[in-house]
Structure formats: structure tokens, C-alpha cells
Symmetry: C2
Subunit: 514 residues, 2 copies
């Protein structure tokens, strides 16, 4: 990376030192997870090879559709695909060959360089819930999300130690016109937080706004040479690439910004009812999507996405935390690693309407499998409720606390001399206890993961304090965090330029709510 | 196994057929889990070898205490150990050598042969919570457990599809004298259920009662040649074997009945604060405990137990579902497999006072790690609350439902022609949907795990039905199950003989409540 390109606009001189001094209340953010544990490999080589061969067969025989996108069809034709109407049939091996230029990992820069993340390898980057039109909290119940809610979530994510990423549409600010809300959302991520964030994908012009605003925040040259956004490009499963999502992908790839190429599948509806069949389709879709990104710009950073869940065959509702979802998540991770690209899956998924035990069972099942499946970028890592219809304030901080468990698990097991603790075992001996021994005193502070939420008090104390359940404790924590929020410093010139860009854009078009 | 020994008393002739006919309402019990997925191996060979070498060093240099047990000291001395007072120092390699006669797996017979379980290998047998002095439910709150509660739990376990085992002290029936309650508990397991169960360990005489009552239930010869009980022998960590538990172990081992040899460790208090140190102590304790069982009777069935959790260093309270507990559970599984004996660990562990989100997060973390750690016998698989102080009725059925997820996960991923679903992908094609396709119709019934508890209804329906949370749904399920309970058939002669044994025993001693 050229020296010039690592210098951000407005970051030189004595400003940084002064800013550091003014930021008295330190917000702690853990480094992204660097796994020191193996991945869980559920499929054997034979199964993986069959799935890979079948995916090639599907691409060759059945193909994929690129809707209302003559440019894409042209690119595919030139690359050697068989294009028939909007159907693109891809000869065996071509898609995988095109994917070879996609980087195996990449850095997504944050405006605070300490919070930049490396996506890929053995890493896991955690980002909050994405997309819900509703929010819920104990006091206000379930209601349409507003920009005020959005800002609160960005603040909570900024203050959550175990979240490395500010996410994107943490909820849909439904009080802002559809064609303008991306501007306010970007503004919130850029000014209320200093963690990395996502760009808009709802229209190519909004993706371009995202790139342009990043140009203001990071400097135009910096953006062209570095990745500063990761955006979510959903595939319309089965095997359909619509023009809006592809238009956004084209903008991001051309500008060297990262895209998650992600099938969105409820198994049995948008993919076969079997795990192996679903994995085959997922792979075919991702292969063709990533290949397309590399046709746009070879080397554009991408992520193998798999949002896959199971279905309640009685009601047709998606179900979460199920064994079949876990099978697919583990299997897709293996396929992504064999393809050599970063992997996105899992999250705080649940079908429950409330942040209750059902929500927590489902979420824990999904978070645990996400860690062990080798996920590199976990969107929806906290705050998801009701099948993704609701972003829940209490669940946001509940899940965010559990993300600390993933950090602890991923550390693996030390077995150096200190960890072996032979002197402690000798010192204490049969019938003794370890609380006071030298080894415990030297190590206890770092030995155990600490919750910032859960209750381990004696029963009597807990009862005296009002017999509070997890949701009640979480509501208090939400309140506490928001009351203590302090906005991270940002160069006032940059802030003003961003505000001017947003104001100008908003003034340039009428409001649209559809 | 000799033909004579597989015949249970009172099981011949037309009685079985008549009984089958009378049992019109069929209670479904899943077969114990036979894993078709790999185990998660967190420790590398170097770490395992270091821990194994260190455990031998501890046994040789520090040793273990056998308290008030001259018979045990004599056995150890004869086996070649260095006995000094109650301290037994075991030469390098001796304990492991003695463990070699322990079987790698064994069958625990149920009185209903269809419900017998094979403990060891790649199997996982699930049993309910064990030991809480309190119970809790929505209506009655938290209170001391009674025999009525105990009976209800046995009935619930009998009716729970995913529970393979009736357990032991599912709660302490505190309204029955301490010296007599084991008789009522055994009677409940033997008559209210037909699943396998556990024997009493609170006194050698009570272990003998357990064996004698099994003699009535199964036939004396059958019991001598087959394992019909698995019992929980806790080690008083660090490295202390008390006379009561060892007395019970001696009875069970002599009678060919299985024992879980299990350290009970809150890390940082009863073992070093580090994972590797704790694993070293766990291994040293289990090696010496299992070796002792083989000194009593070579070939006696045993299980490598590890009840290990972390600690809140502020309050001293045990904590559950933590990364450190997971590390130990994974690591101990590897040590057990290298020793070649079945492994017991994990469960529905939680510190929460209520069956809320905290309880579910903690429980799911523990259940998931238990499955992937290769646990063969999971005690406490459902119903545990508040650090094991409380057996919770709602959580019992909530957790029991989640045990279905473990069954589904353990099935692994099929990749035969039907599972590959190539015809379905071809049939549906880009933009189509799978709900009506032939492959979906042929496979959907078996494709997905089905909850019997959780809510996946549309929001409006859920709201119309009263916005019920998981605990409320669970309370309804408890009520429904108990209302539909039907006692499994038992030969009236055997039932009468058991009742007579209990009556006679009870009459032979005064009540004791301490």
C-alpha cells in the first residue's frame, strides 16, 4: 500500500493528540476475533467434492438469471458463458476460475485506524442486526423504527466492547423518505461511531452516494485504493440476480469496496428441502455472483455469504437455531474456505417475538455454530428478533454480552508453564482450596470471561433487588449506555462537508416513501 | 452374554403381548444419539501429552487422599502405590494401567428393553437434572422439593421424547426422611417410568438397597451379569475420595453396576484458575478414581466424569455457559477418549434464577459444547436452574425440547442421491420455488427438526393468543403432559415385591432428617 494512500484527510498534525486528550471516557473495543481453535468440519471430502461437482453441473445445465441487466449479459458472453435471454449458463469451471482473483482476505478501514478490521483468514468480525422495519423495547413495545431508534443503535454498537463493526441498516428509519434515508444512516455511522460500517444497496445511486460520502470522510484517493465499506448484496434465490442489487454491486466493485454475495434462503422454499441440495444451490449462486464481481473488477473484495435457515412446514415461517441451519452453516464454511474467500453467515437469529428463552436458545445455537463454522464476518450478531422483523433494544445488549463468550472460546487453550499450573496443584494439594494460592492471585483477573449483564448474585440478594429477569437487567443497561454515550471526535471540516453533501442531495429530489 | 442372563424375571410368556395391547397411548422415546458428526478437538497432541504427563507427575508426587477407608489403602498398597497415612501416591503409569480393564462402552439395561442404552463410543445418552433441593414453577414459585415434585419430574422425563434416561435424584424429596427417600425415589423410577435410571450414592447401605431393588425388578442373576444402573460418584476435589462416595462405588463396582467417577470443580476454587491446570487435576482425579474401581472389580463399568465450571471471582459464585467451561469440556472429552472410557459432562447448566434468556443462553452454550465435545452420558440435560439449586418445571420441558436439536445436529449431513436434490434444482430453476416440487413433497416430513414448544406463528396470531413468552408456553406443556401421563405396565408381582421391600426397609429404621 502506497504511503500516500494510508494518509487520511485531516488526520495529520497535532489534532490527533488533542483529540486523544479530550476523549477522557475511553470506549473499549475488542480486537476482531483471531481464532486459535480449529473449525468444525462436518462434511467429508467426498461430500464436498460431490457438492462442488453438482454446483458446476447446475451452472452449466440450468444456469442463473441476470434480470434487466444487458451489461451483465454482455460481460458474461464475453467471458465465455452461454447467454440465452436473461439466462446465463456457465461452462464447468469458468465461475471458479473467475473467482480466483478475489482476495482471500482484506482490510476494511475504519476512520479510527485502531478499529479497522481484517476480514478473512481465521478472523471473525462481528456486526449488529441489519434490516428490521420494527423495533421493540420493554417500555415502548413493538413499533415502526425511526431515525431516532437508528441513532440509538449506532451509539449502542459504538459502546459495545465485543462489536467490531457498526453494521448498516441496523433498523429501517421509516420516518425518513425511502430515497433519502441512506444519507441519514451513513451520516449516523460516520459521525456517531468510529467503527467500520456498511454502504447502501437499495439503488445504484445510493451506493454511489455511499462511495462519495466515504470520499469526504476518508479522502477520495484513500477510498479508491482501500476498502472502507462492506455491503450486503443479496441473491434472489433460486439463482436470480436482480438489477438493483447487481447495480449496487457494480458500483462497489468498481470502487474497490467489499460486497457480501449472499443467497437469502429459507430451505424448502427458495432451495431444496435437503441440506446437501441447499449447499449445492448456495455454492452455484455464490460462485456466479463472485465471478460476476470479478468480471466488473478483478481483485474486488468479496465475501461468500450464506443466509440460510429452515422452515416450519406447517406455517411456512422461517425457523432459527435449528440443526439443519447449523448443518448448512458448517458446510458452507467449508465450501468458502475451499474457494479461498472470506465467509459470512450466522447471527443472533431467532423466531421468538420476545427476548425470552426461545430467543436466547435460538441465538446461542446460531452464535456457537457461527464461531465454529469459521465465519469471518457475522452480520446480525446482536439485536435480531422475530425472524428479522424487529431490532430489539434489550436483546441487542444481551446478545452483545454473549459475543464476549465467542471471544473467550476463540482464544483456545494455553498450555505454557503458567497455564499448566503445576506449582499451584503442588501448593494446594488434596483437600485444599485454590482461591488464595499464588497462581490464582496472579491469574484470576484474566482467567475468566466476565459478563456485563448476567446475574450471578446469591438468590437472596437477587430477590431483594426485585427478582429481575434478563430483559429487565438489559433495559437498565441500554439506559445506562445511552446516558453515558460520548460522541467520538471528528474533524469539524469533514463533519460540515458530510452535512453539506447530505443537505444538497436531499434538496435535489422529492421525498419518496415507496 | 449367556442366554439365561438376558431373561428378565416375569418377562416370558404371553404377558408381554397382552401388555403391549393394553398400552394404547404410545409414548415415543428417541433412540440414544449415535453421532454421525466429528468431535470438536480443541487441544493438539502436544497439549494432550503435556497434560497427561503432568497428571502422572501429580499422582506420583502429590498423590490423592482416600479418607477413612483402610480397605482402599490396603488395595492401593497391594497394587504398588506408596501409601502414607491417607495419602496415596501412585507411581507413573500405574493408574492408567489399572484403567485398562474398564470397558470402553457398556449397555445399561432398562426394564423396557427398547429403552436400554449403550453408553460410550460415539453415543450420547441424555438424562435429566440431578440433585436440586428446590423446585420452581410459574404458579408455585421457588420452594423446597417434595416427593410429589419428584414423581412429576419422573413422569415428565418418561414422556419426553428426547430423554433416554430417567436420571436419579431429579430433585431432593425433602419431605421424606433422608435415610428413606432413596427407596421412594427408586420406586418412582422403577414404576412410573420404564427408562433406565440411577442408584443412590448417599450411603453404601443405600447403594445396596438400589442393587437389591434392581434384583427384584430385573431378577438377581440378571443384575449380577448386566449393568442396570449408572450412578454418580463425585470426587471431593482437589484429589480427595471420601468414604461415603467410595463406599457406594465399592457396592456398585462389586455388583457390576456403572459409576460416573466425577470431579466436581468450580475452577479457581477446587482446581487451578487455568484450563490446562484444571484439566491436569481432572485427569489425575479420574485416573485414580477409575483405577480404584478396577481394583474393586476389574471390568466394572465406569464413566470419566467432569463437572467443571468457572467462577465469578467477585462473588465466588459458579458461572455457566462460559468459554472456560467449554474449553475444559472439550479438552476433558479428548482425555477420556485417549483413556478409552465413556465420558460424562455438560448439561442444561445456568446460573440464572429464572428460566429466562440468561438461563437459555447459558444452557444452549453448554448443550452445544456437550454434543461436540463427544459426551457419552449427559446428566442434567434438562431442568437445571440457579446453579443447580433448583429443578424448574418449565425449564425442564424447554430444555427437553432443545435436546431434539442435538439429535438433529448429530445426524450429520446426508449426501446420497436423494439428498443431493439435483432433480429438484433442475425442476424449479431460477426464480421458481420449492414448496410444491416433488422432492420437497417426498422429503419435507423428515427434513427438519420440529419443536413441540417454541412459537413460530405470525405476529398477529401470537398477539391474539396472549403474547405468550416461552415460560408461559412451557407451563402449558407441563400441565398437558402431566394430564396425559399413563403409567407404563409392570408385572403386578414385581410391583408388589418392590413395595414390600420398601415398606420393610422403612419400618426397620427411625426417620432421619440430617
Amino acid at each position: 500500500m502506497a504511503e500516500a494512500n494510508t494518509q487520511r484527510r485531516g488526520r495529520g498534525g497535532g489534532g490527533a493528540a488533542r483529540r486523544a486528550e479530550r476523549t477522557a471516557v475511553r470506549i473499549e473495543t475488542a480486537k476482531y476475533i483471531e481464532r486459535n481453535i480449529p473449525n468444525f468440519e462436518i462434511l467429508n471430502d467426498e461430500a464436498l467434492e460431490i457438492i462442488e461437482a453438482n454446483a458446476e453441473t447446475i451452472l452449466e445445465e440450468v444456469g442463473v438469471n441476470f434480470i434487466e441487466n444487458p451489461g451483465a449479459l454482455e460481460l458474461w458472453r464475453n467471458a465465455g458463458a452461454d447467454v440465452d435471454g436473461e439466462r446465463v449458463r456457465i461452462p464447468r469451471g469458468l465461475a471458479r476460475k473467475l473467482c480466483a482473483t478475489a482476495p482471500s482476505q482484506f482490510t476494511q478501514h475504519a476512520r479510527n485506524p485502531e478499529k479497522s478490521v481484517v476480514i478473512g483468514g481465521r478472523n471473525l468480525v462481528l456486526a449488529p442486526v441489519y434490516g428490521p422495519p420494527f423495533v421493540r423495547d420493554v417500555q415502548g413495545g413493538r413499533r415502526y423504527a425511526t431515525m431516532e431508534d437508528f441513532n440509538k443503535f449506532v451509539k449502542l454498537a459504538y459502546m459495545s466492547k465485543w462489536l467490531h463493526h457498526s453494521g448498516g441498516t441496523v433498523c429501517e428509519p421509516t420516518d425518513i423518505p425511502v430515497n433519502k434515508r441512506h444519507l441519514d444512516m451513513l451520516m449516523a455511522h460516520m459521525t456517531l461511531s468510529d467503527k467500520p460500517f456498511m454502504g447502501s444497496v437499495t439503488d445504484p445511486s445510493r451506493a454511489q452516494d455511499s462511495v462519495d460520502m466515504c470520499g469526504i470522510l476518508f479522502g477520495k484517493d484513500f477510498v479508491q485504493e482501500n476498502t472502507v465499506m462492506t455491503s450486503l448484496i443479496n441473491i434472489n434465490s433460486p439463482m436470480t440476480f436482480d438489477d438493483v442489487m447487481m447495480g449496487a454491486l457494480e458500483v462497489y466493485a468498481k470502487n474497490n469496496q467489499a460486497a457480501i454475495i449472499s443467497p437469502f434462503i429459507v430451505g424448502g422454499a427458495m432451495a431444496p428441502v435437503s441440506v446437501a441440495g441447499t449447499l449445492t444451490q448456495v455454492l452455484a449462486e455464490v460462485l456466479s455472483g463472485i465471478a460476476y464481481s470479478q468480471l466488473i473488477r478483478p481483485g474486488a473484495p468479496v465475501i461468500f455469504g450464506a443466509f440460510v435457515t429452515s422452515i416450519d412446514m406447517n406455517s411456512g415461517a422461517p425457523t432459527f437455531g435449528t440443526p439443519e441451519a447449523a448443518h448448512i452453516t458448517y458446510g458452507a464454511g467449508q465450501l468458502a474456505r475451499r474457494l479461498g474467500v472470506p465467509y459470512r453467515s450466522a447471527g443472533s437469529f431467532c423466531g421468538s417475538k420476545l427476548p425470552d428463552a426461545q430467543a436466547a436458545y435460538e441465538t446461542s445455537n446460531s452464535l456457537n455454530m457461527g464461531l465454529l463454522a469459521g465465519v469471518n464476518f457475522m452480520l446480525h450478531a446482536c439485536g435480531w428478533l422475530e425472524g428479522g422483523l424487529v431490532a430489539d433494544f434489550e436483546k441487542f445488549v444481551m446478545d452483545a454480552d454473549q459475543l464476549g463468550v465467542l471471544h473467550g472460546l476463540a482464544r483456545g487453550v494455553a498450555y505454557d508453564e503458567n497455564a499448566q499450573a503445576m506449582d499451584a496443584i503442588r501448593e494446594v494439594g488434596p483437600g485444599g482450596h485454590y482461591l488464595g494460592c499464588a497462581h490464582t492471585q496472579a491469574n484470576f483477573k484474566e482467567a475468566f470471561w466476565k459478563t456485563e449483564l448476567l446475574d450471578y448474585k446469591p438468590f437472596e440478594t437477587w430477590e431483594d433487588e426485585g427478582s429481575r429477569d434478563t430483559r429487565t437487567l438489559a433495559a437498565r443497561r441500554v439506559e445506562h449506555l445511552l446516558a453515558n454515550y460520548q460522541q467520538p471526535q471528528l474533524d469539524p471540516e469533514i463533519a460540515a462537508a458530510l452535512a453539506a453533501y447530505v443537505a444538497e442531495k436531499k434538496a435535489s429530489m422529492p421525498d419518496a416513501f415507496m
